[in-house]
């Protein structure tokens, strides 16, 4: 026991340029935002990018899953847009600060009475005139909060110059970081797979992207994205349940007070909770999404036998495969068989899958094979073989059973005679947090101190330095 290394808190943090740089890594996504210390294997703080917003006066925000509970006058919002670009710049720094400081370095946080996070609204109203003075101290203290922590932030390869500038401002002006860096997620995923050249396929929560990386650079013209991803898959499941016979009602967990186990397809015996106030539809949708996620994790599969699901004979064969039972929060349960495969078929074939409302339907240019084809056609023909031999698959949605086999089959059919090799991390965490892990390793390297954009460089060049340095 005496031989144990010092805990990270006890280790010296002053050897900037050594391997302990006390750097932080922040990886914002549409469904989750991940934050943690550089050098660690997984992000210590993972929070939904969805947050609660109380519309009562004064308005206030709630961060973290445990605070997203039924409340009056309470909506669920998201600070990112579905293209994984920050949209709400008032809230983004607050969520980030909540994660980087309150969650990761609680000893550093400003007193809860002053930090403006998760305030009790009553207290504030009683404050009256004292409010102004408080805001000032708050700002001063925040400025000091990250003065010892270089910060690496990941971004989508299509992140806008404006969003990059905003991020830089928050890092340098609001938090006072000594240094920072912005990294493109597909480059980090490629590097983490040991490849400087790769075709990175990232099937995430809100979107899917395909990007060619060559010698550690994103080839801009190759970048393709589409809204198919985890949330699109949720719509497929909703559609399946809607059109099922009998129709499956999605009652989220928070509504169920108690339930009695019932047989498969038997009427539900549950008592529902009553709320003395209106539950906002966004809250219900968020809660429904949790049930859908569970369904995706335990029931949904990708058709991975030869051909597509609608190839002759395949659908009949799918019906003979073992099914999976899923129990809804209210006790409804039933066996799902060939439907499990049909749900994901639209990722590969826009004509398959369940009917969706028009705004959620994807076109034939938005399936994964179409994105890959478009990405490859945008790059030099000499490079294509090399990219196909180095396909890197990442993102949580790729964890669905059968995904990699199917992708291999699709690519083999599209590019006969070419060597196709798919690399997908075996560890679930590496697939879910691929970009964060890559950033964590990079930012923990002693040698990386010469890459960081330092405060001095920033002050001499202004926020435009990002466009020059982080390419």
């Amino acid at each position: 026991m005496a031989q144990q290394p010092l805990s990270s808190a006890a280790q010296p943090t002053d050897i900037y340029g050594g391997d302990e740089v006390s750097a932080l890594v922040l990886d914002p996504g549409y469904c989750n935002t991940r934050a943690g210390w550089a050098g660690e294997d997984v992000p210590k703080s993972i929070l939904p990018s969805f947050y609660g917003h109380s519309t009562a006066t004064p308005a206030q925000n709630f961060f973290g899953d445990e605070r997203l509970i039924p409340r009056a006058d309470f909506e669920i919002r998201n600070y990112m847009n579905k293209d994984s670009v920050v949209e709400d710049w008032d809230v983004a720094p607050k969520i980030w600060e909540h994660m980087l400081i309150n969650r990761l370095q609680p000893d550093k946080q400003t007193a809860p009475s002053k930090n403006g996070l998760n305030d009790d609204p009553k207290e504030k109203t009683q404050d009256g005139e004292g409010d102004v003075a408080m805001e000032e101290t708050e700002n001063q203290e925040i400025e000091k909060l990250l003065q010892e922590n270089p910060l690496l932030v990941t971004e989508a390869p299509w992140n806008t110059p404006k969003a990059r500038e905003k991020t830089t401002e928050v890092i340098m002006e609001t938090w006072g970081c000594p240094a920072f860096w912005l990294s493109r997620t597909p480059v980090l995923s490629a590097f983490a797979a040991g490849k400087a050249t790769a075709l990175v396929i990232d099937v995430g929560g809100a979107n899917t992207s395909v990007a060619a990386i060559h010698d550690g650079m994103v080839l801009k013209r190759s970048i393709q994205k589409s809204p198919i991803g985890g949330l699109w898959l949720s719509s497929q499941i909703r559609s399946l349940w809607e059109t099922s016979e009998p129709k499956v009602t999605l009652t989220p967990t928070y509504m169920v007070e108690n339930k009695t186990p019932v047989d498969a397809l038997a009427p539900v015996q549950a008592r529902l909770r009553q709320f003395p106030y209106q539950i906002h539809s966004s809250f219900r949708a968020y809660e429904e999404e949790r049930v859908l996620t569970e369904f995706k994790e335990s029931v949904v599969e990708v058709w991975n036998k030869p051909g597509r699901l609608n190839s002759p004979g395949n659908e009949d064969f799918a019906k003979t495969l073992p099914g999976r039972v899923f129990e809804m929060p209210d006790g409804w349960n039933q066996m799902w068989r060939e439907q499990r495969f049909k749900l994901t078929e639209g990722l590969f074939d826009e004509t398959a899958g369940y009917p969706l409302p028009e705004e959620e339907r994807v076109g034939k240019n938005q399936t994964i094979p179409a994105l890959i084809r478009a990405a490859l056609e945008a790059v030099d023909v000499d490079l294509r073989g090399n990219l196909l031999a180095n396909v890197v698959v990442t993102g949580s949605t790729t964890l669905i059973n059968g995904f990699n086999d199917r992708l291999q089959n699709e690519l083999a059919a599209m590019y006969p005679g070419m060597k196709i090799k798919i690399h997908a991390a075996g560890l679930t965490s590496e697939r879910r947090f691929g970009a964060w892990i890559g950033g964590s390793i990079l930012a923990s390297l002693g040698t990386f101190h010469q890459m960081w954009i330092s405060r001095k460089e920033y002050e001499e060049n202004g926020p435009g330095i990002v466009e020059k340095r982080c390419k």
Partner: protein, 153 residues
């Protein structure tokens, strides 16, 4: 460009020039020093035995943060020599090989991939670059095909 910031030691360039200009070596294997700060020469050899070279890559190791020894990536320069199938004589091709076995740990893979450009840029006159991730990728027959663009006899 995201790069690790690792530096290239002078011995890498010296050894490379010995190989390129004086044909002193057949291959050079480079590695990152144990503290991951610098790229150094692990071995420079005039042995023409491809299988021995291949074994060296396959058996290469690196140390993870926690001190555990696992498979390790490497960089290598190999001076390929082959005769053309058309009978037009011998050709030499300096080839840069980025070896990163899929079953190596994520940390060494990340560091080697993000440091590669530093080494490649220091070595001038490389004709071909290959990225290899499993033992099948470094079979002589398939490699020579790629290096010679199918022209080897």
């Amino acid at each position: 460009m995201s790069q690790s910031g690792a530096t290239v030691s002078q011995e890498c360039i010296t050894a490379y020039n010995e190989l390129k200009l004086n044909k002193k070596y057949k291959f050079i294997i480079f590695k990152l020093s144990d503290n991951y700060k610098e790229i150094v020469v692990e071995e420079a050899s005039d042995s023409k035995d491809w299988e021995a070279f291949r074994e060296k890559l396959i058996n290469a190791t690196s140390k993870s943060k926690s001190g555990a020894i696992g498979k390790g990536p490497r960089y290598a320069i190999y001076d390929f020599e082959y005769s053309l199938a058309s009978g037009d004589g011998l050709r030499n091709k300096l080839t840069f090989l980025a070896w990163s076995p899929d079953d190596a740990g994520v940390q060494p893979k990340m560091i080697y991939a993000s440091s590669k450009e530093a080494l490649k840029r220091s070595l001038t006159g490389i004709a071909t670059e290959l990225q290899a991730n499993d033992p099948d990728d470094i079979e002589y027959d398939s490699i020579i095909k790629t290096v010679s663009k199918g022209l080897a006899g």
